[in-house]
């Protein structure tokens, strides 16, 4: 780089001025890289053209943070050029459009704030948010996952929500992978797994928020790119949702001290995972849930005292982004005095204070007359706080440090970064022939699939998360002495209302066509929700993809987004929030495109919620939905290491009617037990129901709606839209009438003895004792 572009303005405090005016393209890129800004050439040029003066390092870092993928979703808001024309923003064109067109009156606030908000009962709203914390978890599994949970909890606090539940969905490499297969810089999946699970559990348990939903997936692809999704759900009185920061209000920072930790977390999440991640020490965040627990108390007390005019959390970009966003959303400006920030250590440069992502901090805007009462609450809760500065009408973000102005930027420019363009190529995926003999021994196939890490019991993990704390959990993630699985968590958040919140997820990264992969994930989230009694479901999307600068990655992203629109519309389920995490690439390659859909439904009376364990011998068993030869990417084929065949597709015209009828049957009280069919298909679902019960199941495959003549496909197909239902005996007619014209068949009975008996398509019987099912499933 040429001399003179970067100049030290002052040694102490360390401030640097960067003069972009004379900088050539190569210089611009080098400055971006050297300062860790992760800005592209067009972005650097836009800054260069805007300013007729040198910029301070504080200012350039502000751009680096605010214009990062994480903060502003540049790919999702940018233009995607395809062979068949340009798409003006994936978010606008697909995700938000579905919501806008569905126009549900119960959507209270969508895509706007830290979390999506939907109406609940008694004048309350439910807040929901799901985040990813992949890169930090790859570097420091415990701290990365724990601060992932901590961060998403603050998203809920950041809309004045009282957290009522958390969730986590985790994707790891195979735990038994050999060390020799790892690449330097990549930690062994076993190490990552232990740390991530411990981190998720530790933070949620410490905060006293029950973990009621999640999933765990193992695949070689995630060895280099661990995926950690953390969700949080909260409740608040509608009238407590206050966002009216005014000129003259004070910006008050509360919570943990600010230090060098988490610096450049944001820009770091916007580039590929570098090989030498060991050097990124400052990207490591040390969780301190004890402070966040006190923050939670303070937020609720300030809320209920109606003392503050606004709130937001400090996440990516730290103080710079939180203050900038709060001012910008209210059409205001702000002046911050960085001297007031309480620091963990000495010698922190002003730009570091400005962008540090130290955890457990919140920002309030407080009318000055309320400062005394507000600060008394903070002190009561043993929290440190400071006034950062005050809001004004300048629409500028200004910061001073030791008397010098170190940042002075117009918010309008800051919040309208140049739109980026991405190019997409359509990647065609066509089914390939499947070479697999039909096995003879169905029973041993079922047992071996149950012991597959992707199908087996999650009890060993789920029980390390408290799912009962707060005393409001109705349907538990695992249940009974054998820890069988339910499909969704149900929480009863209000003392004086029987209405419950139903939390579910859907994730199917193994179906090779991104469109159908997304469709199936969405449908599975709904299916899991409906299975326990949920309805009026709002959904959240979380994309984990590779480098969006690569045309194939963006091509599959586009297809997944198309499916999101199509199926959200078809099912009538609006997106209310979401997030994308791009640049998930490691020396071992790009992440497998992974879409998580989270469903948030309601149930009018939690006492009618349905669990998956069998209730009474003699009850009829019904199979809802059609079983097709859709096995590509299924747990069955993956466990055999076989590829090929067709993958599941979703037919919303049938699936939606089946779900609606099921909801009706649940409300009639005639559904005794229900389980959705997902990984491992009918075989896994029926086994899990037996595992959770004293009773057993008899299934006659020939009585089901099967468009296959192969027993293994009948039992392991992962066709969408299916449920296995125990109906209260005597209610068969009502049940069948409810499903008039739909693909529903009476396929068996609940047995007195704990066993799974399957009569196959050729009339042979296969018997699996509960003890054997349990042993395989639990892997003991």
């Amino acid at each position: 780089m040429r001399e003179g572009l970067i100049r030290r303005v002052s040694e102490d405090p360390p401030i640097v001025a960067v003069d972009l005016r004379e900088a050539e393209d190569a210089d611009l890129l080098e400055i971006s890289r050297g300062m860790g800004l992760a800005l592209s050439l067009p972005e650097m040029k836009a800054i260069k053209e805007k300013f007729g003066r040198p910029l301070t390092d504080v200012e350039l870092q502000t751009f680096g943070q605010t214009w990062s993928e994480h903060c502003i979703h540049k790919t999702f808001r940018g233009v995607v050029e395809t062979e068949s024309g340009a798409v003006e923003g994936l978010l606008k064109t697909y995700i938000a459009r579905a919501t806008r067109e569905l126009d549900r009156p119960w959507c209270f606030s969508v895509f706007e704030d830290n979390a999506g908000l939907v109406d609940f009962d008694n004048g309350h709203v439910i807040a929901a948010k799901v985040e990813t914390h992949n890169h930090p978890s790859a570097i420091e599994p415990f701290g990365g996952a724990a601060t992932g949970v901590g961060g998403v909890i603050r998203d809920i606090l950041g809309v004045w929500g009282e957290p009522i539940a958390v969730s986590d969905v985790l994707c790891f490499g195979p735990l038994d992978i050999g060390y020799s297969e790892l690449v330097p810089g990549i930690k062994h999946p076993r190490y990552i797994y232990k740390g991530v699970v411990a981190g998720v559990g530790s933070y949620g348990n410490n905060m006293g928020i029950p973990n009621v939903s999640g999933a765990i997936i193992f695949d070689r692809n995630y060895t280099g790119n661990v995926v950690v999704y953390c969700g949080c759900f909260g409740i608040l009185p509608k009238r407590s949702y206050i966002r009216q920061t005014m000129e003259g209000d004070l910006a008050v920072l509360v919570g943990g001290r600010t230090g060098r930790d988490g610096i450049h977390g944001v820009t770091f999440a916007s580039t590929d995972l570098p090989e030498e991640s060991e050097g990124l020490r400052s990207a490591v965040q040390i969780p301190n849930p004890l402070v966040e627990e006190r923050l939670r108390r303070a937020v609720i007390r300030v809320r209920d005292g109606r003392l503050a005019s606004g709130i937001t959390d400090l996440g990516g970009g730290g103080i710079s982004c939180a203050t900038g966003e709060m001012a910008s959303r209210s059409g205001l400006g702000l002046i911050v005095n960085l001297d007031n920030v309480k620091l963990k250590e000495g010698g922190v440069a002003p730009w570091e204070i400005w962008v540090s992502e130290s955890q457990e901090r919140m920002l309030f805007s407080v009318p000055s007359r309320n400062l005394e009462n507000t600060s008394r609450i903070f002190e009561d809760e043993e929290l440190e706080w400071c006034v950062l500065g005050s809001f004004n009408s300048t629409k500028r973000l200004k910061a001073t440090y030791r008397g010098a102005t170190v940042c002075d930027l117009g918010l309008d420019f800051l919040y309208s970064p140049p739109r980026i363009k991405r190019r997409a190529v359509r990647v065609e995926t066509a089914p390939r022939p499947l070479m697999l003999e039909e096995p003879e021994d169905l029973a041993s196939e079922i047992l071996s699939l149950l012991s597959d890490p992707n199908v087996g019991s999650r009890e060993g993990v789920v029980r390390t998360y408290d799912h009962e704390v707060r005393g409001a959990t109705v349907v538990k993630p695992v249940q009974g002495e054998s820890g069988s699985h339910n499909d969704a968590g149900v929480i009863k958040p209000l003392k004086d209302s029987w209405v419950g919140v139903v939390i579910s997820c859907g994730i199917n990264p193994f179906y090779p066509d991104p469109y159908w992969m997304a469709a199936c994930s969405l449908e599975e989230a709904l299916r899991n929700n409906v299975a326990v009694g949920g309805r009026r479901i709002a959904i959240l999307d979380n994309f984990v993809w590779g480098n969006p600068e690569r045309e194939d990655r963006i091509g599959s992203l586009l297809r997944a987004c198309e499916a999101c629109y199509d199926f959200a519309k078809a099912f009538g389920t609006p997106f209310i929030s979401g997030k994308d995490s791009l640049y998930n690439e490691s020396p071992m390659g790009p992440v497998r495109p992974t879409l998580l859909i989270t469903g948030v439904g309601i149930i009018p009376d939690v006492r009618k919620a349905v669990t998956s364990n069998l209730k009474a011998a003699g009850d009829p068993i019904y199979l809802l939905g059609t079983t097709k030869e859709e096995v590509c990417g299924s747990a069955y084929l993956r466990s055999k290491g076989v590829e090929g065949g067709d993958w599941p597709r979703v037919d919303p015209s049938v699936s939606k009617r089946v779900m609606n009828a099921l909801t009706k049957a649940i409300d009639l009280g005639i559904v005794a037990a229900c389980h959705d069919l997902s990984d491992g298909g009918l075989g896994a679902a029926a086994s899990e129901m037996v595992i959770g019960s004293e009773e057993g199941i008899f299934l006659d495959l020939g009585r089901g709606l099967m468009s296959t003549s192969r027993n293994d496909f009948a039992v392991f197909s992962e066709s969408a839209g299916r449920f296995l239902v125990e109906v209260r005996s005597g209610s068969e007619e009502t049940f069948e009438a409810t499903f008039e014209g739909l693909p529903v068949r009476h396929v068996g009975e609940v047995l007195r003895e704990g066993a799974l008996r399957i009569q196959d398509l050729k009339g042979r019987e296969h018997v699996l004792e509960k003890a054997d099912l349990l042993r395989s499933w639990r892997g003991d």
């Binding site: 420091e140 599994p141 415990f142 701290g143 190490y191 060991e278 020490r281 490591v284 040390i286 004890l290």
Partner: protein, 87 residues
């Protein structure tokens, strides 16, 4: 031969130690006059090795692979004694 090795793993300097902070405050509350406190974990491990040098090297590898995260932790390994002998 069995060696007894102690591996101590703690946060690198510069990282704030929430546990140490709580301990320091609690000690002050009990009337002690203390400055900062840092908390680390010590693993006392029986290691099968040919000699003390190998035992130490093995323990260091255990730290790198499992007990510590070099990104945030420092570790220190010390061979305590050869099993059965205390010299």
């Amino acid at each position: 031969m069995m060696f007894l090795v102690k591996a101590e793993v703690g946060l690198k300097r510069g990282h704030f130690d929430p546990e140490g902070d709580v301990v320091a405050k609690s000690l002050r509350d009990l009337g002690f006059s203390v400055g900062s406190v840092r908390v680390s974990k010590a693993y006392t491990i029986e290691v099968d090795a040919r000699d003390a040098a190998e035992a130490k090297a093995l323990a260091e590898e255990m730290c790198r692979k499992l007990l510590a995260n070099p990104t945030k932790d420092d570790f220190m390994v010390e061979v305590l004694l050869i099993e059965g002998r205390t010299d």
